[in-house]
Structures are given as C-alpha cells and as structure tokens.
C-alpha cells in the first residue's frame, strides 16, 4: 500500500505540475490572440478610465450596458467624461466592482445596471471567463478572491481546452465579437445594421433567459452590491442603480420588485422595470441586448432619469 500511495502521490504531483506548466505556457501563447477577441476590450476600457478627466461617469455592469448605451450622448448631455466599463455578465459582478474601484475618485458618478439574472445566479464570481481575463491582463490576478482561487482547479481543464481551441481548432474561424467592435468610450458597435435574432432566444427551450416569479434572489450578490454602494458613499462617489434591458415577456413584475425591495436603500435612477423592458423585435441576440439603432433612444431615457435624480 505504501509503495502504491507513494507512486500515486508522486504521479499526481508531476501531473499537476505538468498541467500548470502547460496551462501557463499555453496561456502566454494565447494571450495576444485572446486580447483581440471581445474580452480584450477590457485593456482599452482600463486605459480610458485611467486617462480621462475627473470627475467622471463610470458605467458598471454586464453587456446590457455596452450593447445598449451611447456613452458619448451621456457625456455631451451631462458634461462629464464617460467610461463604459461593462463587458459581459459571465465575468461576474465581483470583477466589475474590484476592477473599477482603484480608478474611482471623489465626485465621480457610478451607474450600475446588473442583468436581471445576476441577482439569482450563483456564479457572480465569474468562473472561467474571469480566468480568461487574467490571461489577457495578468494584473487582474490580484483581484481574485479566495473563493475564486479555490475554484481555479475546477477550471484548469476548461482553460486548457479553450487555449487549445484558440491555438489549434478554431485557428481560422471568424471572430464574431472582437475587441475592435468597441468604440473609444467602451460601447459595443458590432451589431450595427444587424437584424433581430429574437426567434432564437425568445423560444429558448432550455429556459436560460426565462425568469420565474419564484426566482430565489442570491443574498451574496445583494450583499456585494450593498458593500459596493457603501464603498462609494465613503469615497464621496454617487452610485445609482437601475434595471438592465430585458425582454418584456420574460421578466415577471413580482421578481423585479423583489429585487427593488432587497436594495431599496440604494439610489435608484429608476425603480420602474417598464423603463427597461422591450419587445422581442427590438432586441438583438439576447434579451439583454437592444438593436443598435435603439441605443440612442435607450440612452436618452437614462439621461432623463439621471437628470431627474441628480436635480433631487
């Protein structure tokens, strides 16, 4: 038994060492390619938030922001520079908060619009896409939480597979969402002139997007948002929260108000879900993404709501 266990432990150790070496080496090779893909926009967004004038408006949340917002319009209307720091909900809300914190200064305004499902999903930690961002920008390692470090072994295989796909399998495949589809403010423009694909997600049998009345709200996520709001208050930063864009048919009203109730002490730029709900034919490729030509309409609505709150 002793000999067997010794050999097994030795093999396991060599195996994990080997896996880590392959992981690090393949990640280093993949990094330049990966940074040209959609999540590579984080480098440009970081660059912008560091270099724009103070005070500024920072948009924080998932892709419902960058797909649906015209930051320049906000900038021109409110006469403050805007940095759209949103990427993709899968990255996890914790990442958004931690990655923008170092750049927030007194007098800034933060507009927070988490996706509806972010309130009920457990993976607000971001899981593998969080690790993808670490390949693009290794400095992000410092913002990984202990929980995320603990989860890392579960994703080693996944990352290896992704790296393999980028390097070998998908070498010649066309990238649909690339880094350069984002404009200077950080808004996504890759869906310009593209038609609605609502048929795909509105009839999604797997119910990925269909929120239910009895959806359980994730207390950890609520706490995370509250903590961020407290952080902003302490630093004299105004933080507004609102609902993200979603398909009218898929959000039950009760669920939306449940969210509002959980976070009622926060500053809401709108607590009326109807301000953010749209018909299926107005949506692009998910219930969170508007067609490009509705970006301005949506932005103007936010500006009006914000102005109201700022005057109060």
């Amino acid at each position: 038994m002793k000999k067997f266990l010794q050999k097994l432990i030795l093999f396991s150790f060599v195996f994990f060492l080997f896996a880590i070496i392959v992981l690090v080496a393949s990640s280093a090779i993949v990094a330049p390619k990966l940074s040209k893909r959609g999540r590579g926009c984080v480098l440009d967004k970081l660059n912008r938030i560091q270099n724009i004038q103070q005070p500024k408006i920072v948009l924080v949340g998932g892709s419902n922001i960058c797909y649906n917002t015209n930051s320049k319009l906000i900038e021109d209307s409110l006469h403050m520079p805007v940095a759209d720091m949103s990427i993709n909900a899968n990255v996890g809300m914790q990442f958004y908060f931690e990655s923008v914190k170092p750049y927030l200064k007194s007098g800034d305004i933060v507009i927070l619009t988490p996706e509806y499902d972010a309130y009920s999903k457990i993976n607000f930690l971001g899981d593998e896409s969080m690790y993808e961002l670490n390949i693009i920008h290794p400095k992000f390692i410092s913002i990984l939480s202990a929980k995320q470090w603990l989860r890392l072994p579960l994703y080693i295989g996944n990352i290896l597979k992704d790296n393999y796909n980028i390097l070998v399998a998908d070498k010649n495949s066309k990238i649909s969402n690339g880094r350069y589809d984002y404009n200077a403010w950080g808004d996504y423009e890759g869906h310009k002139n593209l038609p609605s694909q609502s048929g795909k997600f509105m009839n999604n049998k797997e119910d990925d997007y269909n929120l239910k009345e009895n959806q359980i709200i994730n207390e950890d996520f609520i706490q995370l948002v509250k903590n961020f709001s407290i952080y902003c208050k302490q630093k004299n930063i105004k933080c507004f929260i609102g609902y993200g864009v979603y398909a009218k048919k898929l959000v039950p009203e009760e669920y939306a108000f449940k969210i509002h109730n959980e976070l009622k002490e926060m500053n809401w730029f709108t607590n009326n879900p109807n301000d953010c709900l749209y018909d299926a034919n107005q949506l692009f490729d998910s219930p969170n993404h508007l067609l490009f030509n509705l970006q301005n309409q949506r932005t103007e609505k936010i500006i009006a709501l914000l102005k109201k709150q700022l005057h109060n």
Partner: protein, 466 residues
C-alpha cells in the same frame, strides 16, 4: 453520481482511505461500508429510487432465504416465479408500461378501435435493468441449487449495491461474485496499479473520445435532414465509437475501481470492433449481458440442443429481448432484430474453423464493423422512421466532407492504434505501454491532461438510461 463528476473524484478517495485504513478490521465492516457507499452513490442521483433498490434487495434476499429453506418443489417454483414477476414487474412498470400501452393503442387504432390506456409520466430509475438482472441471477442460481443462499444480508447488500458496477454493470453472476464478499481482502500492489491504468484509459475513452464524438453525433442525428451522403456515414461511424468508448470506458473505470477495492469484475468488452464476424462480435461486446441471456434465457428455452430451426427461433427471441432490454422503443427492437438476422446464417451454415490470410481477416473485420455500424443507426435514431430516412439520405452521395473539425476522427485513429497494439491484454493501454515502455509515463501524463481538459463536459453515460 457520475464517475465523470467532481463529486465522484472527491467521493472515491474518501471511500478508498476509509475502506483500507478505517474499516479494514473485519470483512463485515468492509461489506457494511461498501453497502453504505453504494447507497450514497445511488441516492446522490435521486434518493427516492434508493427505496426501489432497497425493496429489490430485500425481496430477493428473502426469496433466496426461503428457496434455501424450502424443500417442496412446488413452493420453490412459486418463489422463483414471484422473484421473476417482481423484478420483471419493476422493469415493466418503470421502463415499459408507457411503451406497451401506446403500442397497444396504435395496434387497436389500425383496426379502427379507439382504446385509451392511461400513460403515466414515470422517471426511469438509473441502472434499473442492471441491478434487477444481477439480483435475479442470485435467486435463479439459488433456485437451480448452483449456490447456497446467503444468510448475511450485509454481504448481499454490498454485492447488489457495489457502486463501481451498480449502474451500468458488468452484470456479475451471483455464483461468481457474491463469494468474493466473504473473502478477506488484501491490498495487492499489482492489482491496484492495473486498476489505476484501467481507470485512466476508461476516463480517456469516455471523457475525451466518446464526449467529443457525442457533439457531432447529436448534431448529425438530430438534424439529419440537413445532411446527406458521407456526413451521415461519418455520423453513424462516430456513434459506433461513441457508444463503444462510452460503455467500455465506463466498464474500464468500474473494473479499475473494483480492483482498487480488492475485487475483480468480469471483462465486459474484448475489442469488439476487431471481431471477424457477428458471432465473434457478440462474444466480445457487452459480454456480461450476452452471457446472462445465454444462461437465463437461451439455455432455458432449449438452447441449441434441439432442431436447427428451434435454435434459430431461440436466437431470435434472445436478440429481440436483448433489444427490448435496452429500452422501450421500437428502434431497440429493430436493432435486436437486425443483429438476429446477421447472426442466423451462422446457425444454418456451419463452417469449419479456418485460418484466413491477413487480407481476408482485415476485410472480415471491416465488413463486420460495417454491419454493426449500420445496426447502430436504429439504436441511435429517435424513431424507426428517422432511422429509415437517415439510411435513405446516407445513399445520396455528395462527396467526402467531414462534419466540423477533425478532432473526433484523429481521436478514433488514436484509439484504434492503442487497441490494436494492446489487443492481447485485458487493458489496451497496458498492452501498448508494455510494448513501448520508454513512453509509459509520458503517455500517462498526456492522457491525464487530455482528460482534465475535457472533464468539464460531464456528459452522462449512454448506458445509464438502460
């Protein structure tokens, strides 16, 4: 609990440590521990069906006990009929009721009669066909006086709920496997390392090859109307390797885990795609089920001792039942029927054992594989109509093109290489590394990395549904 889940990767080391270091004082303790781990393993999926497993276990243990203590032949017959009715009844209720109800409804409707049978929405308990057959083998063997009934309920519970083979076999016969639960288990280094190699190769076959093929197979079979010709042929070939790697991978893992616990499970797959004819294929594919049907169905029907026509009918029955065993769907019956048709000529045309040239052997292997693959189309298709349409479109030739990426194709080539080189061994990987010892550890490392990279998919095993 799936073998290819993180939960199991935590579960097994705990079981291994407790089994060899904590409960190793007596066989009874080890058996009780194995029974509990079996229940945890099974209950993890759905604890309600644990009651079903327990019911089956208690019933057959009691039947065995009364069979042993009863001398009266009529009473003994009643007892075995009860056991058969109970076990087959479980299968009928949970697996076949809706199928039979709907089939009868369809038959009546052909004659213009409208009969409404109540169909119920019952979830099929995972592995029910496996553990009921294993349980049945116990009562039948006791009835046949091939073994004595055990009085040790814990050992019996450990035998039925032995987690490595509880859900998808190999179906171990009580005469061979139950006595092992009364033997002292001593850790054996050679057995354990052989077990680890089996587990490694099993995981590779399942997680890397079968799951990679599955992605293409699912796409091709679910959207076959968009494809034709070569892609549909490739779809069927990929499925042949998916099901082989999925099931034999599971068996390898099960056998490897059993070895780590000091048990030997029977060989269930012996390189079936290298068979030179259908008869040989059935001696190499799902051996534990084939031998079960041989011993408990074919032989009681009269086997091959009567006329040649009677033998043929018996073989036909076995294949049809075997098809039905796989699932309540006409596609499985068609699959069984097709194999019976392949098999029957060998009953009528008796040939002397002959040594053929390498070329003829290769050709025979290829033809057998083609026939088996053709039958798999029925096995995989959602309905019989789909299967026929699939076959029809398969013959609309439009040149050679591969579906998506070629990774599945190269993985299959790799599998064939390892299997061919190591085919004289119970584990192909061991056979391969014995031939090339210098690459042994590099090979293990590469396989392990591939497994890790594909582990997240966690697709269920095909045979769990049977």
């Amino acid at each position: 609990m799936l073998f290819n889940s993180w939960t199991f990767l935590i579960f097994f080391p705990i079981v291994f440590i407790l089994y060899w270091f904590v409960v190793n004082k007596s066989i009874k303790m080890q058996n009780a521990f194995l029974a509990i781990t079996g229940f945890v393993f099974y209950g993890w999926w759905d604890w309600r069906f644990l009651l079903l497993l327990l019911l089956s276990l208690i019933t057959d243990f009691a039947v065995g006990y009364f069979l042993q203590t009863t001398i009266n032949t009529a009473k003994r017959k009643l007892l075995i009929i009860f056991s058969l009715a109970f076990n087959i009844g479980l299968l009928v209720v949970f697996k076949y009721y809706n199928f039979f109800a709907q089939s009868l409804q369809n038959i009546f409707s052909v004659f213009g009669l409208k009969v409404d049978f109540v169909t119920v929405n019952i979830i099929l308990p995972v592995g029910i066909s496996f553990y009921t057959f294993q349980s049945l083998s116990y009562t039948i063997q006791v009835y046949r006086k091939k073994m004595e009934a055990t009085k040790d309920f814990i050992a019996y519970a450990a035998y039925i709920s032995f987690f490595p083979q509880l859900i998808a076999g190999p179906i171990e016969k009580a005469t061979q496997f139950l006595p092992k639960f009364f033997e002292k288990r001593i850790f054996n280094y050679t057995q354990a390392t052989s077990g680890v190699k089996l587990i490694l190769w099993g995981y590779f076959k399942k997680v890397v090859i079968a799951d990679t093929c599955a992605a293409y197979v699912n796409d091709i079979f679910n959207n076959y109307t968009h494809y034709k010709g070569f892609i549909l042929i490739i779809g069927a070939v990929y499925f042949a390797f998916q099901i082989y790697c999925d099931f034999s991978g599971y068996t390898d893992i099960a056998r490897g885990l059993a070895k780590l616990l000091g048990f030997e499970l029977m060989l269930n797959f012996n390189y079936p795609y290298f068979a030179k004819n259908i008869r040989e294929f059935w001696h190499r594919w799902h051996i534990s089920l084939s031998t079960w049907f041989r011993d408990y169905l074919f032989v009681p029907l009269g086997g091959s001792k009567k006329t040649i026509n009677k033998t043929a009918i018996n073989i036909l029955i076995v294949f049809l039942v075997s098809g039905l065993w796989h699932g309540a769907n006409a596609t499985f019956i068609c699959w069984g029927l097709l194999h019976a048709l392949y098999y029957l000529p060998s009953v009528y045309i008796k040939r002397k054992e002959q040594t053929y040239s390498r070329l003829i052997n290769t050709l025979n292997i290829f033809i057998t594989f083609a026939l088996v693959t053709f039958a798999w189309i029925f096995f995989r298709a959602n309905t019989i109509t789909d299967a026929f349409h699939y076959i029809n479109r398969m013959f609309h030739w439009n040149g050679i093109q591969f579906p998506g990426k070629t990774s599945a194709f190269f993985l299959i080539l790799f599998l064939l290489m390892i299997d061919w080189v190591g085919r004289n061994n119970e584990n192909a990987l061991t056979g391969f590394v014995n031939k090339f010892p210098s690459v042994r550890y590099a090979m293990y490392l590469i396989l392990a990395v591939f497994i890790l990279a594909n582990f997240y998919q966690q697709q269920s095993f095909i045979y769990f549904q049977f």
